[in-house]
């Protein structure tokens, strides 16, 4: 594995999950052997009905939950107790409710939290915070308390808090939930402009189609389908089987998905 890390020709995938199984302490088994590989720079949508185990899977990616069986590897580094700090720096999770994610008194301190916990100080820290806020277009809000921002702004700051750690992979839990159409579009523009691997957990199928060329369906604790987002959404039988429904009037066939995402 070490050889692969040092050899630039064979960059390890950002995320490699193999045979991941997990049962909660109460005996409820949520994952039954998940296999998923996300190459560097890819944007992948993780789709699935409620209770499919999506959140459980996400919590394995940075070692909050420990696999019952199987392994998770982030850019060649296996998720294990020994290097949790590095894993958590590499895997940036944006949680669904920005009020949970933004826990510091001001935006600036919140964005600084991750890098400061990793030991960054002074001018370097300031620079990191400024850059992360600029990437989400929130630089002028640095000194505001998070609860004075609109919901869409808070979601963008939540993305910045994670970007400040310069992660290998960005994991977004329902990024479009509770956003009005304009905020939704702004967030999409931001996500498209980032050169980082993205794994997006969502119910919002048009959003997945808009942003992610590839999608995987997690259902019943296993990956039930893996392919181009448009093909998956057009496969009516697959969609029905996994309780995935398109919004009224939305026909994925009618959408022309750009092959090269706009920069």
């Amino acid at each position: 594995m070490d050889a692969a890390v040092t050899d630039p020709a064979t960059t390890p995938p950002s995320l490699e999950v193999s045979g991941l199984a997990y049962a909660y302490p109460d005996g409820h088994q949520a994952l039954f052997g998940v296999d998923l590989t996300v190459a560097r720079g890819e944007r992948v949508a993780l789709l699935g009905p409620n209770g499919a185990g999506k959140t459980t899977l996400v919590l394995h990616l940075n070692g909050i939950l420990t696999a019952g069986a199987g392994t998770v590897t982030v850019a060649g580094l296996p998720v294990a107790k020994a290097h949790l700090a590095e894993i958590r720096r590499r895997v940036g999770i944006v949680f669904q409710d920005p009020d949970d994610q933004l826990f510091m008194p001001t935006v600036r301190e919140d964005v600084a939290f991750g890098p400061a916990a990793a030991g960054l100080r002074g001018a370097e820290l300031e620079e990191r915070v400024r850059r992360a806020l600029e990437r989400v277009g929130m630089a002028e809000f640095a000194d505001r308390p998070p609860h004075h921002l609109s919901f869409g702004q808070r979601r963008r700051v939540a993305v910045a808090t994670v970007l400040a750690m310069e992660p290998e992979i960005l994991v977004l839990d329902e990024p479009s939930s509770n956003l009005d159409p304009a905020s939704r579009r702004e967030l999409a523009d931001i996500l498209r402009s980032l050169e980082v691997t993205v794994l997006m957990v969502t119910h919002d199928l048009p959003y997945a189609l808009e942003l992610c060329p590839r999608a995987v369906v997690l259902s019943g604790g296993v990956i039930a389908a893996d392919g181009g987002t448009q093909e998956l959404l057009c496969d009516e039988e697959l969609m029905r089987e996994h309780r995935l429904e398109l919004p009224f009037g939305f026909d994925p066939r009618s959408v022309r998905v750009p092959v090269f995402p706009a920069r």
């Binding site: 940075n62 700090a85 720096r89 009020d99 008194p105 301190e109 939290f113 400061a116 808090t161």
Partner: protein
């Protein structure tokens, strides 16, 4: 920095008092209060001197007297207790306004009233010249246990979130025709409070998850450090030192 919560207590300004580092001000107020409470209650003039000192600070901070006096009203519930003292205390009685009052009770009431008012006034001045956020940084600097500082900073951050949640629950109750009118309805209010507690507890767990995901290992990283120069300490020390001189004089005079 955050203008957010500060608006209730903090009074925006650019005075020398505003400019002092927060930990100097906290230390000064704390020492001042210690000096005030250790002054003998019979030295009535000393309390007048303390009040004059605070008036001086307020003037330097350009805070109008009316503002401080209005803030002092918070003290009223505590003072109510002091007013009872002359009636309930034992000992020799004095006649005043046609009532028989206890002499030692009167002294106790004066003691509580004077020292309490001075303490509250000093705190009001501290709060109106220092932002809430800066106060926390100051406490952190003064080596207050980091867990307490963290708890306080979460209170600032989530106070509004939780009161908003409470407001939504109240609207939901009212929308279904509920109006708390008497003891019979306390059960509903109590279960709302319980639900609010559980929601806040669950939010706490989610916040902790988000913190751990970003590398939290039990201590808050120091992001903003406040420092103070010798001169700033000297300026802040002026208040408690003058007060100390007054206090010592109070003890030495018969």
């Amino acid at each position: 920095m955050g203008a957010g919560h500060a608006h209730k207590l903090y009074r925006e300004g650019r005075s020398p008092v505003h400019a002092l580092p927060p930990h100097c001000k906290i230390a000064a107020v704390f020492c001042f209060v210690l000096v005030v409470v250790s002054t003998p209650r019979e030295a009535v003039w000393a309390f007048g001197a303390y009040a004059a000192l605070l008036a001086g600070v307020a003037a330097a901070a350009r805070i109008p007297a009316g503002y401080v006096l209005r803030r002092l009203l918070i003290e009223v519930p505590f003072v109510a207790f002091a007013v009872l003292m002359p009636f309930v205390a034992e000992g020799p009685r004095v006649e005043a306004l046609g009532m028989s009052l206890s002499a030692s009770g009167l002294w106790s009431a004066w003691n509580i009233l004077a020292k309490g008012t001075l303490g509250v006034a000093a705190s009001v001045l501290l709060a109106s010249t220092t932002e809430l956020r800066a106060l926390l940084l100051g406490l952190q600097r003064l080596r207050m246990p980091s867990l307490l500082v963290q708890i306080a900073s979460f209170m600032i951050r989530y106070g509004d979130v939780i009161s908003d949640e409470m407001r939504r629950m109240r609207i939901a109750r009212q929308s279904r025709g509920f109006e708390a009118r008497g003891v019979r309805h306390w059960g509903v209010l109590a279960s709302s409070a319980g639900a609010l507690f559980i929601r806040s507890y669950e939010r706490g767990e989610r916040v902790h998850l988000a913190m751990v995901s970003r590398g939290y290992t039990g201590t808050m990283p120091v992001i903003d450090d406040v420092t103070a120069s010798r001169t700033q300490w000297a300026h802040a020390a002026a208040l408690p030192l003058t007060a100390l001189a007054v206090c010592l004089t109070g003890w030495m005079l018969p």
